[in-house]
């Protein structure tokens, strides 16, 4: 504040020159000599190029290495189409389930005070720190032939493992925290005043949620769904354990990448991989845009 007042007062030329020098001296205290700066920037750029940019570029280079026709021919294979379809179905199921859960959990956790809140949030976060392979393994131990429910499922002729339900379940496990984690801090920050006003004016709980809360958190919902969907479509380890790799039936896109790659069908493997890489890039761009919207939503509330 004091700086702004000083700025608005007109200063003589010598004063402003002295101030500029002082500012330069202060900046010098906060930065490094030019060669050091250049070395650090070069190292950072080089590292990101080798470890992040090149792997991305190589996916597309390999996918188009036999030309554009071979690329589209690989994507038009029935096996590829089946994998794309399965991936979309599984993502729709797990994103849908986690969206509903995220909204419900957000309401309970962000709008009310209760003991054990931190523990509950830690439990919701658990899947982030469980190895993908273990996320698949837990369902094999429950529903596999030797699993707790294995014999019961066989008697009733219900197929969970090596079928869509198992894949959807493992994917839901892995993507469990995304929507809830995007919504809880946002809803906490927004407080409960608007909802309380709606209730006191006679709105029902559901009306309040759909007319007051949901419009306030719509960018957060989109943000959570976006990240949840990216992970759901790209999940490999957990799905690999429960899928059974039945060709044309239980292979999602990432699993098909592995199979084609191991069969040395590199163009086909990288063609599918390029679709997933594009999904990742679109997700990142959309994420950047949404973060801008979310930041805008925050600013007026902070002041």
């Amino acid at each position: 504040m004091t700086m702004q007042i000083a700025d608005s007062v007109s200063l003589s030329a010598s004063d402003s020159k002295a101030r500029a020098q002082a500012a330069a001296a202060r900046n010098n205290l906060r930065t490094e000599p030019r060669p050091v700066r250049i070395a650090i920037i070069t190292l950072a750029v080089l590292f990101l190029t080798v470890f992040v940019v090149l792997p991305l570029v190589v996916v597309f280079a390999q996918a188009f290495s036999r030309g554009i026709l071979a690329y589209f021919a690989a994507l038009a294979e029935p096996e590829a189409m089946a994998a794309i379809k399965l991936t979309l179905i599984v993502a729709a199921i797990s994103v849908g389930l986690n969206l509903v859960f995220g909204l419900v959990a957000g309401w309970a956790i962000a709008k009310f005070e209760f003991p054990g809140k931190t523990v509950l949030i830690t439990l919701i976060d658990l899947p982030f720190s469980v190895s993908p392979v273990i996320s698949g393994l837990v369902f094999v131990l429950l529903f596999g032939a030797q699993g707790y429910f294995g014999s019961w499922l066989r008697e009733h002729d219900i197929q969970i493992l090596f079928a869509v339900p198992g894949i959807a379940l493992a994917t839901t496990f892995v993507t469990f925290p995304f929507v809830a984690r995007a919504l809880i801090p946002l809803m906490q920050e927004q407080g409960t005043q608007e909802e309380e006003a709606a209730i006191s004016l006679g709105a029902s709980g559901l009306q309040t949620f759909f007319r007051v809360t949901l419009p306030n958190i719509k960018w957060g919902v989109l943000y959570g769904v976006l990240l949840c969907n990216a992970r759901a479509m790209g999940e490999f380890g957990a799905v690999s354990v429960v899928s059974g790799h039945i060709r044309g039936e239980t292979n999602t896109m990432p699993l098909l990448v592995e199979i084609l790659y191991n069969e040395y069908q590199f163009v086909a493997a990288f063609a599918i991989a390029s679709l997933l890489a594009m999904l990742a890039l679109i997700t990142l761009i959309a994420k950047t845009v949404l973060e801008r919207h979310l930041d805008e939503g925050h600013e007026p509330r902070d002041h």
Binding site: L54, V58, P132
Partner: protein, 278 residues
């Protein structure tokens, strides 16, 4: 305080939404994880010990934990350099490189795996020049190390970046004008302020690399005792229907992850307690 609590309770639906949250959390996360621990209790301590102390298991755990730690250390150093460049300097393409840091988060692990393998294979863009120098990356433990560096880098950058951004410029200026050299200021003033974030980033990168499967198995070579990671050994034991072995290895890995979460939570609390109240 009690008035606030009372006021908050005026919104409806706490019982219903909390009930649904706890039930769904139990069905999807807690019961399946509890099943794993129950399974491991069916093993006698002796069986458990025999599985874990077998040469192949020990080597797989050593490869996973050892290389994950080494990769997390590289991430700590390179991540700090990247954060410094992104926050403190202006250079062409800075915003793009800032966005690109998140690629390892967003890129499906299987895609990262085949891409890194193609890049570092003997005929790959980077593998060929490295092979000329006599360095073999793909299908060796070095390949696992490279994949783990790839997967861990955003964790360090994204935990340290906001802390460096929020660092009060005045403390640096004070140190500088009191006669500290730039390197003294960095080591004695900036580094201690970043320490909790740096350690959190290290822990998160380590935890992710230990459990990583998709981006590693393509480039690893998967030679038992040499370049076989623990998650792959779990998958192999499952395919051999040796559920006990798979369970025992998984339980060890889970316990380590839980210890890391606990440590990270403590770190966060420590970091928060150090921020002076304004």
């Amino acid at each position: 305080m009690s008035a606030l609590a009372a006021r908050r309770r005026t919104l409806p639906g706490f019982g219903l939404t909390m009930g649904l949250t706890l039930s769904w959390l139990s069905v999807i996360i807690l019961i399946p994880l509890a099943g794993l621990f129950l399974r491991s209790l069916e093993l006698s301590p002796e069986q458990f010990w025999n599985i874990l102390s077998s040469r192949r298991t020990l080597n797989a755990l050593r490869v996973s934990f050892g290389l994950a730690f080494a990769a997390a250390c590289v991430n700590l150093v390179m991540g700090s350099i990247i954060v410094w460049a992104l926050v403190r300097y202006r250079f062409p393409g800075r915003r793009i490189f800032d966005a690109i840091v998140d690629v390892p988060f967003a890129l499906p692990t299987a895609v990262a795996g085949v891409a890194l393998t193609a890049l570092f294979a003997e005929k790959g863009w980077l593998g060929a020049p490295l092979a000329a120098l006599g360095i073999k990356v793909a299908f060796t433990p070095v390949g696992i190390f490279v994949a783990m560096i790839f997967i861990g880098i955003p964790f360090v950058v994204r935990t340290v970046q906001p802390v460096l951004q929020d660092l009060d410029p005045e403390i640096e200026e004070a140190a500088g004008s009191l006669g500290a050299s730039r390197s003294q200021t960095i080591v004695r003033v900036i580094l201690p302020s970043l320490a909790p974030a740096l350690l959190t980033g290290l822990a998160l990168a380590f935890a992710r690399a230990v459990g990583e499967y998709g981006s590693v198995i393509f480039i690893a070579g998967n030679l038992p005792n040499v370049s076989e990671i623990a998650p792959l050994l779990i998958v192999i034991r499952l395919s051999e229907f040796r559920y006990a072995d798979a369970t025992a290895i998984a339980v060890v890995m889970l316990v380590v992850s839980f210890v890391i979460i606990f440590a990270v939570n403590r770190l966060q609390r420590w970091a928060q307690s150090r921020i002076p109240a304004r």
